[in-house]
């Protein structure tokens, strides 16, 4: 249509819409005028007045119909109809507030839960990383084939990175980064802050520019040049109170002044972890340039600690890039082979986005599925509630039909009511969802990536709106269709009240109940399996004592403790102080505490000359550490002062079993490659320890004494102090804190936790999964029980008269009970069976999330079946009791 056309038509449409009454009045006048003239004409032809008037009306063919057709010609009548339907809907809903409240609440719960979970899924999985063309970014990792059985992928190292960057043409550029911690000194207490040490091109590669100040300069990552830092927005806001004058100011990190050159935008987030072995921590405070390779970073096959991110050149495929990298890796391997054996290197690349969300994907998908099932149950319930209202409204529908309403009009009207419920429920649901997101973000375990990016955005709101519309229509179509099928004759004849529920309608409602029960059962079983996994996990023997053990993470300032002997002196002096404290039973230090992950993974040759460079975790420990933390001695002995200076190690059970199966390992020698090549004597075998987390198998572990390494001591900059107490470990906290302060007031305490807290933290993701599972399964069961109750209560109401007659004819109360229970429990039993068999399939899908329990666990299935049966019986019992109390006289008088 031409705009010229609209000039005429739009005002007309608007007029008919907003001046509806006037337009209609004019229509009325016009037709009346016509009738008068026509009558006059007939009278002029010699007809009697009465007859003339009748003929004129006949010619017009029904005044109301003609008017309706004229209104339709205005093309806006559907809007008016809709408004009318809405008004009517509001009136109906207000007339039954109980129904409206329950229906709205059901919808709101479903929509709220779904919106909250979808926000998380959206933030974590769906939204692309906030980097420029983030789909071109790949994480490059190294495959060391001799080690790949234990570590399929290892991070990159600096020499390798430099070669890649020089020789690779498939990548526009490659950047590199590792996590680092440092002490910030200046005003107040020393503060441990977390940073990233990276190449100067890191931000330009990601396509991010600082919000304030400048990016690193191209050569700023070379040796001796990188005394500059860029701060994250969060740290800048918290520590510098968003002071823009911070640019150019110096801050003291580990005693060295660094110049602040930039502040990143608030929208910038760096991954918490890249690859299995490179962690950056959840809260990054600053970025610093590499400052060239450190002395120990020049080895071609050492210090694989860096995450390498490459930006693929446009037009290049990942396969081409990988092939090229592998050519380069083969060259490096040949270079290494001149001096060392057993080093065959290749590369692996993975899209950065995939890497960042990888592990969370399965858990979140499960979560989304579970919450989707809750939504479906809410839908079914709503449909059921609507269906149960139909017989009561059959009379209304019949009268409307008799007055000329079409089926479509009836259908539309019923559906509009649902739409209204959807709008109400949706609004309430979005509000609940907001609360839910806040709760989820707070309660979620630290492992979930990108959690700080989770919030409600427009996509989530659209999701909520569509969900409300979809559910309200979905749950309304079936009831509305049934209602519009009202049989006028039947409904009017029986006077409405007694128009019982038809056989078909009851079947339908029972089928819906069966579906609800089935879905709830499946959800309950999943939740049960997750719960059972957690309990199994908490019963796992971690290999160390979890009671009466206090742990402290300390971090020595590198400037004053650059010498290993100084560090050793501090630790031992601290232990002396701790031993003297009242309530302290034993104490020790170790280079990394259990459950804090793998570190210092280096080569072990056992026996010397055998398989080489076998990867094992190394821990430096004070002689009394093993006893203090409660690691069991299995054979031989642990370090003592009399061993001081001797080359001795203690190995874990899995090392002993791997290398000396069925033999006595005590007194054997092994070759260790930690800092240098050394031949050591095994003096003891201790129990395995859960090193990474409770549900990860123990790793091969070698404990070395604090004098290990001779001149090249392996005393760590940061260590875990373990204090074994005779009473409650929390009681000694203040005195331990004081002791550390007294030993050196500038040493920051990074964390002070009881061992049971550490265990609890390590199962936090599982506890969270279980909690959500139980929450969703619980709401599903609750909704299903509402559904069962609704069906039975309604059917009892409908059959009041029949029940009255039965009891008048001598039926016992127990007979009536039995009859109603049988009716109620039949769909429940069917649903239960379906749910149980369905859970076998679902169980297999989530097998990887389970621990110590099979997907088809009879115990869990039995418990769930029992629980569902009890709840269903209870839901049947309440209306059934009411039925058995029906007084025959009263019931019959109802007629």
């Amino acid at each position: 249509m031409r705009p010229e056309h609209w000039l005429f038509t739009i005002p007309l449409r608007l007029r008919s819409l907003f001046r509806w009454a006037q337009t209609d009045q004019e229509l009325d006048d016009e037709l009346r005028d016509h009738l008068e003239r026509k009558t006059e004409e007939y009278v002029a032809q010699g007809m009697a007045q009465e007859e003339a008037h009748r003929r004129a009306r006949l010619d017009l063919g029904g005044i109301e119909q003609t008017k309706e057709k004229c209104r339709d010609a205005r093309k806006v009548s559907w809007i008016q109809d809709f408004v009318q339907d809405l008004r009517f809907g509001v009136r109906v809903l207000r007339k039954s507030p109980g129904f409206t409240a329950i229906a709205t609440l059901t919808l709101a719960l479903g929509i709220g839960a779904n919106t909250a979970v979808f926000s998380v899924v959206n933030g974590v999985l769906l939204r692309p990383l906030a980097y420029q063309e983030s789909n071109q970014l790949y994480l490059i990792q190294v495959v060391w084939s001799q080690m790949s059985k234990f570590y399929p992928l290892i991070p990159a190292n600096l020499p390798g990175y430099q070669i890649w960057r020089k020789q690779s043409h498939s990548f526009e550029d490659i950047a590199i980064a590792e996590g680092t911690g440092t002490d910030l000194t200046g005003a107040g207490e020393p503060k441990e802050i977390h940073g990233v040490r990276g190449s100067a091109n890191l931000f330009s590669l990601l396509g991010v520019s600082p919000a304030l100040g400048r990016d690193f300069l191209p050569m700023e990552d070379e040796s001796g040049r990188g005394r500059v830092v860029i701060l994250t927005n969060r740290f800048w806001r918290g520590y510098f109170h968003s002071d823009p004058a911070v640019i150019g100011r110096a801050i003291i990190l580990d005693g060295v002044p660094f110049t602040v050159v930039g502040v990143l935008p608030a929208s910038f987030h760096f991954p918490t972890q890249l690859g299995q072995l490179t962690t950056f921590g959840r809260e990054i405070d600053f970025f610093e340039p590499l400052n060239g390779p450190k002395d120990d970073e020049r080895d071609l096959v050492g210090e694989f600690d860096f995450a390498a991110i490459g930006r693929l050149r446009t037009g290049m495929s990942p396969e081409q890039a990988l092939a090229e990298l592998n050519v380069i890796q083969a060259q490096i391997s040949r270079e290494v082979a001149k001096t060392d054996t057993g080093v065959d290197l290749s590369a692996a690349i993975i899209p950065l986005e995939f890497e960042v969300v990888g592990a969370a994907r399965r858990g979140l998908t499960l979560l989304l599925a579970a919450v989707g099932v809750v939504m479906l149950i809410a839908c079914v319930n709503l449909a059921n509630m609507m269906l149960s209202r139909i017989p009561g409204r059959m009379r209304e529908a019949a009268i409307r039909t008799a007055l000329g309403a079409t089926r479509w009009q009836l259908f539309r009207r019923m559906l509009t009511e649902n739409l209204l419920l959807g709008i109400l429920g949706g609004a309430l649901g979005v509000w609940l969802g907001r609360k839910g997101v806040m709760w989820l973000v707070r309660a979620a375990p630290p492992g979930l990536p990108r959690l700080d990016e989770v919030h409600m955005d427009s996509r989530v709101l659209w999701f909520a709106v569509l969900l409300s519309l979809f559910t309200s229509v979905l749950s309304g179509v079936l009831p509305a269709w049934r209602a519009s099928k009202a049989d006028v004759q039947e409904a009017l004849k029986s006077g409405g009240a007694a128009a019982g529920e038809s056989q078909g309608s009851r079947r339908l409602r029972e089928a819906l109940v069966g579906i609800e029960v089935g879905m709830s059962t499946a959800l309950l079983i999943v939740a049960g399996l997750l719960t059972s996994s957690l309990f199994h996990l908490l019963r796992v023997d971690p290999g160390f004592a979890t009671e009466k053990v206090l742990t402290v993470d300390v971090d020595l300032p590198p400037q004053r403790y650059s010498e290993p002997t100084a560090r050793l002196h501090f630790y031992n002096a601290l232990l002396d102080r701790l031993r003297g404290l009242p309530g302290v039973h034993a104490s020790g230090w170790v280079s990394r505490l259990p459950l804090e992950g793998e570190t210092s993974v280096t080569g072990l040759d056992v026996p010397p000359g055998g398989p080489s460079h076998f990867p094992a975790n190394f821990r430096t420990a004070s002689p009394d550490y093993l006893a203090a933390v409660g690691i069991r001695l299995l054979h031989g002995r642990i370090f003592s002062e009399s061993d001081r200076g001797r080359k001795v190690v203690v190995v874990s059970e899995s090392v002993a079993q791997r290398f000396w199966p069925g033999q006595n390992p005590i007194g054997r020698t092994c070759l260790t490659f930690w800092g240098g090549k050394e031949e050591d004597e095994v003096i003891g075998v201790v129990g395995d320890v859960r090193t990474v987390k409770l549900d990860a198998a123990p790793v091969m572990m070698v404990y070395v004494p604090d004098w290990f390494g001779g001149k090249n001591l392996r005393v760590p900059q940061s260590a875990g102090i373990v204090v074994r107490t005779s009473g409650d470990e929390r009681g000694v906290e203040p005195s331990v804190r004081e002791a550390i302060h007294a030993a050196d007031s500038e040493v920051p305490i990074v964390a002070m936790r009881s061992m049971s807290e550490m265990v609890s933290e390590s199962v936090a993701p599982r506890r969270f999964q279980m909690l959500l599972g139980l929450l969703f399964a619980g709401s599903a069961l609750f909704l299903a029980s509402l559904g069962i109750y609704g069906v039975i209560a309604y059917s009892v109401e409908q059959r009041r008269r029949e029940l009255g007659i039965r009891s008048a004819l001598g039926a016992q109360v127990s007979d009536l009970h039995r009859m109603i229970l049988r009716q109620g429990m039949t769909p429940v039993a069917a649903g239960l069976l379906t749910g149980l068999s369905g859970s076998l399939v679902i169980g297999r899908l989530i097998e990887s999330l389970l621990f110590g329990v099979k997907a088809a666990d009879p115990m869990t299935m039995g418990t769930v079946a029992f629980l569902v049966t009890i709840v269903a019986l209870l839901a049947c019992f309440i209306p059934s009791r009411r039925a058995s109390r029906v007084d025959p006289m009263v019931a019959l008088r109802y007629e």
């Binding site: 010619d59 063919g61 004229c70």
Partner: protein
């Protein structure tokens, strides 16, 4: 009910436009004129006349205003718009083509 079954679809619009092209008139007069000019051949019931007029008005082809007639009566008078005139030309063209095509076909059969 009162479908103009003897009128080819859409021709009622054209007829109404043609009648209103001569002079503005009210609905009753249109029905009279229709009967008169077609010599009672085209029977358009009053019941389909008004919806058709309203449709033409909504399309912007005719416009209506309330006027007091010669006998002091208020009535709704329809008159042609510029758009309507263009539409009439188009429909008349179409109609001409259609009817000549049809008569050619009919003649073909007779021959």
């Amino acid at each position: 009910m009162s479908k103009p079954s003897d009128l080819v679809q859409g021709t009622l619009d054209m007829l109404l436009l043609k009648i209103l092209a001569l002079e503005p008139m009210n609905g009753f007069a249109v029905s009279q004129r229709l009967k008169q000019v077609s010599g009672d051949v085209l029977q358009v019931s009053d019941g389909s006349l008004y919806p058709a007029l309203h449709k033409l008005e909504q399309e912007g082809w005719i416009t209506a205003e309330w006027k007091t007639s010669e006998y002091g009566r208020r009535a709704k008078y329809y008159s042609m718009t510029r758009l309507g005139r263009r539409q009439l030309e188009k429909e008349a063209d179409n109609w001409g083509r259609l009817s000549s095509a049809i008569s050619r076909v009919i003649k073909l059969k007779e021959a």
